[in-house]
């Protein structure tokens, strides 16, 4: 997996940033920016080499399709139909004829070139402002050919960052629970895939029930709940080596695990004698600390990105509500006061918001509020949905949704969905089977 690291080698030309196109991502974007993604040009010899290695006829076109698809699902960009492109990819990459691109209403243009260099894939790409007739960015990098999909994601991240001013979220993965079988006897497996649904892999066989996998924000470790030997316990899984271990030595169910922002601790619930409390375990020295102390259910803990606070779910008021406390368990404050019950608080990576699930009058909502509970905003309403997880840039939430069954109990499904923080751009995330409990990774390359 070390070879997955892609080195950014050359920044071809430094570019000044004023006066050029920008995309505002703070509002729902009803007019996505028209962008032309020219297929990456490729010389015939390189094309043949990559066809032999990757079994793809034209890897330049394939990579540009990934960029195009990413831009489309972001909701902020409208990739134009390639049939209308007048300029050949290789020439466009040298010097676009801006009048031609202007004619098809493109405001931004992405061009590039792929070459085969000593068994490696070398890509360069450029972003152009069509109206201003200027180059906005040019980058080149080299990697192993098998990383070609990631190349497409990294190009998208760079373009997104250049045009919106914020980090992208395309070179990321989703870990989730793949589900199959009847509702009364679901078979569940851990699964991992690229953010766009490609490269799906199952990490467990489905012999035991598994739930709520979460990424370590600093490494390729995952924590999750497994019913191995009918003992529901929090586990730690290294997805590079496949090694697993139980977290701690608790005489009862541990559940609802998450990592601390520095990746060094796991925070989770431990249930005993009908009472669930929140604990942490330091992964280096194995020291366990009890954080809450209350006879109610305390669960779904989530750290603030600076590690100083913890949001969690408690029914100490009689019903599930969201609370915030200092990371040592002091200063517990309830923050949810709207109508209904609230669960699954998750702190935004930007630190300013908490995403949650809300149940009110028989409907489930995914929403966000400020960390003091003010400014509650509901993004989406449905029969059943829960468990939001933030994209690493804090702009998109992924969650899962279950359907209502018919009068015969048939028609159940569980699917992953995503929605922008603005409440726009709601879309189903493709998975080969049903899915639930998604968790978004950090950016793989930085």
């Amino acid at each position: 997996m070390k070879n997955i690291l892609i080195t950014l080698i050359i920044i071809l030309i430094p570019v000044k940033s004023f006066g050029l196109i920008e995309v505002d991502i703070t509002r729902g974007n009803l007019n996505p920016l028209p962008v032309a993604v020219s297929p990456l040009s490729i010389d015939e010899k390189s094309r043949q080499n990559f066809e032999n290695i990757l079994k793809k006829k034209n890897i330049g076109s394939e990579i540009s399709l990934i960029v195009e698809n990413n831009l489309r699902i972001s909701g902020l960009f409208n990739p134009l139909n390639k049939d209308a492109f007048l300029q050949e990819p290789d020439i466009a990459n040298l010097k676009p004829r801006f009048e031609d691109w202007n004619l098809i209403k493109a405001q931004a243009l992405i061009t590039g070139k792929v070459t085969y260099v000593e068994d490696k894939l070398r890509v360069e790409f450029r972003l152009w402002d069509v109206l201003a007739g200027k180059e906005m960015m040019a980058l080149a990098f080299t990697t192993v050919p098998n990383n070609w999909r990631r190349v497409g994601h990294i190009i998208t991240d760079k373009v997104y960052e250049r045009l919106t001013g914020e980090k992208g979220y395309f070179d990321t993965r989703i870990i989730y629970v793949a589900e199959e079988g009847p509702k009364t006897q679901r078979v569940k497996k851990l699964a991992i895939m690229d953010q766009d649904g490609a490269n799906n892999k199952f990490l467990t066989l489905g012999n035991e029930l598994v739930l709520t996998p979460r990424f370590n924000p600093t490494s390729q470790m995952v924590t999750y709940l497994s019913y191995f030997r009918n003992l529901p316990r929090v586990y730690l899984l290294d997805i590079e080596t496949g090694t697993q271990e139980v977290v701690g030595d608790f005489p009862g169910m541990t559940f609802a695990p998450r990592f601390s922002p520095d990746g060094k601790k796991i925070i989770m619930s431990f249930a005993k004698d009908g009472n669930s409390e929140i604990y942490t375990m330091d992964l280096e020295n194995r020291i366990v600390e009890k954080i809450t102390n209350h006879p109610s259910i305390d669960t779904s803990p989530s750290y603030s990105p600076d590690g100083k606070f913890i949001s969690f779910n408690s029914d100490r008021s009689g019903y599930q509500q969201i609370y915030v406390m200092k990371s040592d368990g002091s200063n517990v404050k309830r923050i949810s006061f709207g109508k209904g019950i609230y669960g699954t608080p998750v702190w935004s990576p930007r630190g300013d918001l908490i995403a949650f699930t809300k149940l009110h009058k028989g409907k489930f909502y995914i929403g966000v509020m400020r960390t003091d509970g003010s400014g509650e905003r509901l993004l989406t309403e449905n029969f059943y949905q829960e468990a939001p997880s933030w994209s690493p840039n804090g702009r998109v939430l992924i969650f899962y949704r279950e359907t209502k069954t018919d009068s015969k109990g048939k028609g159940f499904s569980a699917k992953l969905w995503s929605i922008d923080l603005t409440g726009y751009n709601e879309r189903q995330v493709p998975t080969p089977t049903d899915g639930s409990d998604p968790s978004w990774s950090s950016l793989l390359s930085n």
Partner: protein, 159 residues
């Protein structure tokens, strides 16, 4: 065997009817539910003749109803007579709650039944508790009756 089951079901239905009529003024009843606690027997299995295996709960609650306590007293009597048997109490929730909270709620329900069995002389050494949250419904319906059947604690023989 069949006849005894029919008779037994008949008896339980009569008991249920009595309970319903007694409470009819204070709580809404719909067929197999009292309030939103399930009172039917179709999902019930029997640990032994006359010893039903499960108790049902109201939404978000882990309080044992009168009927639940009666069921658990029968279980306790049977367990006292069969002192070698150990049990697992499997706590469940309906699908109308978040997964993690439901895991905690299932554990709380199973423990409520454990506590009651212990007050009737069953040693905690013989009882283990396992919460499934909302992961193992018995009824796949998305309606109040199905949910009431799924809010349960089931006593399962472990040996």
């Amino acid at each position: 065997m069949k006849l005894s089951k029919i008779l037994k079901n008949g008896f339980l239905i009569i008991v249920a009817c009595l309970a319903l009529s007694a409470c009819a003024t204070s709580k809404k009843t719909t067929g197999q539910m009292q309030g939103d606690v399930y009172t039917g027997t179709d999902t019930v299995e029997y640990l032994a003749s006359g010893v039903p295996d499960r108790v049902f709960f109201a939404t978000n609650e882990s309080v044992l109803t009168t009927a639940s306590r009666e069921t658990l007293r029968k279980q306790a009597a049977w367990l006292r007579k069969n002192s070698k048997i150990t049990i697992v109490l499997e706590g469940h929730a309906d699908e109308r709650g978040t997964r993690e909270y439901n895991l905690a709620l299932g554990e709380r329900r199973a423990n409520a039944t454990k506590d009651y069995l212990m007050t009737y002389g069953i040693s905690s050494d013989r009882i283990s508790v396992l919460s499934y949250g909302k992961e193992r419904p018995v009824d796949s319906g998305s309606n109040p009756l199905a949910w009431s059947k799924n809010r349960r604690s089931v006593t399962v023989k472990a040996n």
